[in-house]
């Protein structure tokens, strides 16, 4: 046997993966769809670049100000938002997150260290890391301009801070993926989240009881929170720079060491997941399900929906079953309520408000939650064949018109939206106060308008720009760039129109006017929806080859 000179260097393996991803990208440009993807990608990148550069300038100016005015410790005020964005954006905006599937790398002679490095490096190539890194660069430049001698310390602290963030984001992703993959842990997470929701009811009374007596303005609040936040990565990084600025180099080095310990501890938790993946872990529910005996030989009849044809009911049932088995998708569906929590915790800049964002306009919580619910449905509605994989062929070989398939999918997604509305209404009631009847009606009529617009465009994009997605893996529910771009355009127009109408009606104190306007829009939108649905078969058969090819491909 010839000499085996395997185990090529990590650098070569990383480069090889980089090259293959580049080749995949270049090859994707051979098709019109691929080129459209590139155009959409450029627009999305420009949007992010604007945010990145804007943030870079703002964080740079902020850092310059706090350092030059001798309040270096206040760097934490800049680092905290960056930290929260870095960790929350990939979870809240899954449409922009793509989790690189490295499971097929396991067949190559890859050492564990190479595998871990590849997971971390390529998993980090996503907008949150890019933007946050740019903003940290801004901070570093701001510090350097204000105090050049402080730059080495700032650079070291920010590098460590970035490493902690990258590792933490990967760790959270991999553990959430693990927990959401199995029914029992998913249920535990669900209960914890429910308790979390209920606990927020206490915030209002607590704020009114203690908040008023303490007159908490931003400074007092910060002074109280500072000692606690110093213990956490953003505060630790800021403290290290502040200690160096004050000439306490030993304390600065010690604080940096604490940041390093954070990184090491997070890596240990990440390592547990990566090691399991490296050893071929299968996150399927199969073992748990297989153990439960079930009733051999008995097959329950499918669902029956009154007045709905059997084939449509069958697809509806399949859609709901798919969703109910997708922890990541279920997790995404509770995000609208989560957003309301974030608003509740965000301090208001308005003097009118009662402490939190939306505090003075709490009746807007339900409309905002409803609008976010629509946004969350984007991944499903705008790429509704995406989770089918090779199964999509059934729709073209079965004696069922594609319009029936679309109708069933739309029905399922509308049902989910209706459930979301109920959840958001309850959430808004618990976190703020029960929305007024007029606001509730205006919001529901607004949804009646927005829903058919989204379904119509979603149906068209699902056929013309499909992308295979995996409902079972966290972060792999991302639609194509064209779809993301187009859906954002639709959302901006629809939500913008609805917001203007609602605000105008609210300023005249005639919320019911918004209801009337929305209902008129809704009638037009549903007519357009029905017309497009009627002609969808022709379009679907025109695109069936690309649709099937995209969804059946294995890589």
């Amino acid at each position: 046997m010839a000499e085996l000179t395997f185990a090529p260097g990590v650098r070569e393996q990383l480069a090889a993966i980089g090259r293959v991803r580049w080749q995949l990208f270049v090859n994707s440009l051979r098709t019109l769809r691929g080129r459209l993807e590139l155009v959409s990608h450029i627009f999305i990148t420009l949007g992010f670049a604007a945010g990145g550069i804007g943030g870079l300038v703002a964080s740079g100016a902020g850092a310059y100000y706090v350092v030059s005015s001798g309040k270096t410790e206040w760097l934490a005020v800049i680092l905290w938002p960056i930290f929260l964005f870095w960790q929350l954006f990939p979870v809240v905006a899954t449409a922009f997150t793509e989790n690189f599937d490295t499971s097929n790398l396991l067949r190559f002679p890859l050492s564990y260290s190479s595998f871990a490095l590849i997971r971390i490096v390529y998993g980090s190539l996503e907008p949150a890391t890019m933007l946050s890194s740019l903003w940290l660069l801004g901070v570093a430049v701001g510090v350097a301009m204000a105090s050049p001698s402080l730059f080495p310390w700032a650079a070291l602290a920010l590098l460590l801070f970035a490493a902690v963030n990258i590792l933490l984001a990967r760790m959270v992703f991999s553990w959430v993926e693990r927990w959401l993959a199995q029914r029992r842990t998913r249920e535990i997470l669900g209960v914890l989240f429910l308790l979390f929701i209920i606990s927020f009811q206490l915030i209002g009374p607590l704020m009114s009881r203690y908040g008023r007596s303490a007159h908490p303005d931003l400074r007092q609040f910060a002074e109280r929170v500072l000692p606690i936040q110093r213990l956490l990565p953003p505060g630790t990084a800021a403290s290290a720079v502040a200690s160096a600025a004050g000439g306490d180099y030993a304390i600065a080095a010690g604080t940096l060491a604490i940041l390093g310990i954070y990184g090491a501890a997070i890596f240990c938790f990440l390592h547990l997941r990566l090691r399991a993946q490296f050893h071929g872990e299968n996150l399927s529910e199969a073992p748990a399900l297989a153990e439960s005996s079930g009733e051999r030989g008995i097959v329950r009849a499918g669902w029956s929906l009154p007045g709905i044809p059997g084939s449509v009911a069958a697809i509806f049932e399949k859609e709901i079953r798919y969703l109910s088995r997708s922890g990541p998708m279920l997790f995404t569906l509770i995000m609208p309520v989560f957003i309301l929590f974030i608003f509740r915790l965000t301090p208001s800049t308005s003097h009118r408000s009662s402490g939190s964002f939306l505090g003075g306009s709490s009746d807007m919580a339900f409309p905002i939650g409803a609008a976010y619910s629509l946004l969350i449905l984007t991944n499903m509605v705008y790429n509704n064949f995406g989770p089918e994989g090779a199964g999509v062929q059934v729709y073209f070989t079965a004696p069922v018109p594609i319009r029936s398939v679309m109708l069933a999918k739309n029905l399922a997604h509308s049902t989910i939206l209706a459930l979301e509305m109920v959840l958001v209404w309850i959430g808004a009631s618990l976190i703020y106060k029960p929305p007024a009847l007029a606001t509730t009606l205006a919001t529901l009529s607004g949804i009646l308008f927005a829903l058919p617009v989204n379904l119509t465009v979603g149906n068209l994009l699902s056929i013309s720009s499909p992308k295979k997605i995996d409902y079972g893996t966290f972060g792999r529910q991302r639609a194509s760039n064209t779809t993301v771009f187009a859906s954002f355009g639709v959302q901006i127009v629809v939500v913008g129109l609805a917001a203007i109408t609602l605000m105008a009606a609210r300023s005249f104190d005639r919320i019911w006017l918004a209801t009337v306007v929305f209902l008129i829009f809704a009638v037009v939108a549903w007519i357009v929806y029905a017309t497009v649905l009627k002609g969808i078969d022709h379009m679907a058969f025109g695109h069936r080859e690309e649709l099937i090819a995209e969804l059946t491909r294995t890589s």
Partner: protein, 276 residues
């Protein structure tokens, strides 16, 4: 083009400059177990996709059970069953849910779909783990499930694209038993496969496609006779003795017939010398 279960006329499919299938005229009689063979990339899957409505022909006409596929696609689809390339399964359903789903897509009522699903799962030996998701099935189990789904509505014609690929002997036996029982009840089966031994054992009629063109069609005996006649005609000087392509008393196997029709294999012993 009448009285055939499957008939095509001038069937052609181009992908840009590439002609994948060119002027194919197939004729499959009702009740035939028909094997459609060809080397990799010859156009088998493209043809079967066109016959089942998964791909539009660039030119030509397809008739299934006397109905024009383009004009009567829904009616034709009611009468055929398909196991396409990639099997068309829904990974996050259980086997029973998937069969139920497909049954109802083909117009079965809830009770009938559930009853047939239970029978099929039992026949295919898939009933042991009713809560297991399809994505967790082994490849052989998935093949069996795909075949069960293709027959749940009792089709008159069954199209199978590589049904025996990656299937072990036990699963293969189950699949063959089901297919033979369908043939004995009058169904027509159109099958593509690279496993020539199985095709030889199962199929009564064959067609071979090579570089997009149909190069042979008929019963196995007709194909064998054709190859032998061709060999004899190629070497008339020795009275046809050298052309005896099979040993005396032995018949040419389908593999030998296939290789003679589409061209031989290249010897690998002088290539890839670095292989151990």
């Amino acid at each position: 083009m009448t009285s055939a279960a499957i008939a095509t006329q001038g069937l052609t499919r181009r992908f840009g400059a590439l002609t994948a299938v060119e002027d194919v005229n197939l004729r499959v009689a009702p009740g035939q177990f028909f094997g459609f063979l060809g080397p990799n990339g010859a156009g088998k899957s493209t043809t079967i996709k066109m016959l089942t409505g998964l791909l539009a022909p660039t030119a030509g006409r397809i008739e299934i059970l006397g109905l024009d596929l383009a004009a009567n696609s829904i009616e034709v689809k009611r009468q055929i069953g398909v196991v396409p390339e990639g099997m068309a399964l829904f990974g996050r359903l259980t086997g029973a849910e998937y069969l139920n789903f497909v049954g109802r897509m083909y117009g079965l009522d809830r009770e009938t779909a559930a009853k047939r699903a239970a029978e099929l799962l039992d026949f295919m030996q898939l009933a042991d783990q009713p809560k297991k998701l399809v994505t967790d099935y082994s490849h052989g189990m998935q093949k069996k499930l795909a075949l069960a789904a293709a027959v749940i509505h009792g089709p008159k014609i069954l199209f199978l694209d590589e049904p025996f690929e990656g299937v072990d002997a036990i699963a293969s036996g189950t699949l063959k038993a089901m297919l033979q029982s369908m043939i004995s009840r009058g169904a027509t089966i159109f099958l593509t496969s690279h496993v020539l031994e199985i095709v030889e054992r199962l199929c009564s009629h064959l067609a071979i496609i090579h570089r997009g063109r149909l190069v042979a069609q008929g019963s196995l005996e007709e194909l064998r006779a054709g190859v032998e006649a061709q060999a004899a005609a190629a070497l008339p000087s020795d009275g046809g003795q050298a052309a005896a392509v099979a040993a005396p008393g032995e018949k040419l196997t389908l593999e030998e017939i296939f290789l003679r029709i589409v061209g031989g294999a290249r010897p690998a012993d002088q290539e890839l010398s670095w292989l151990s």
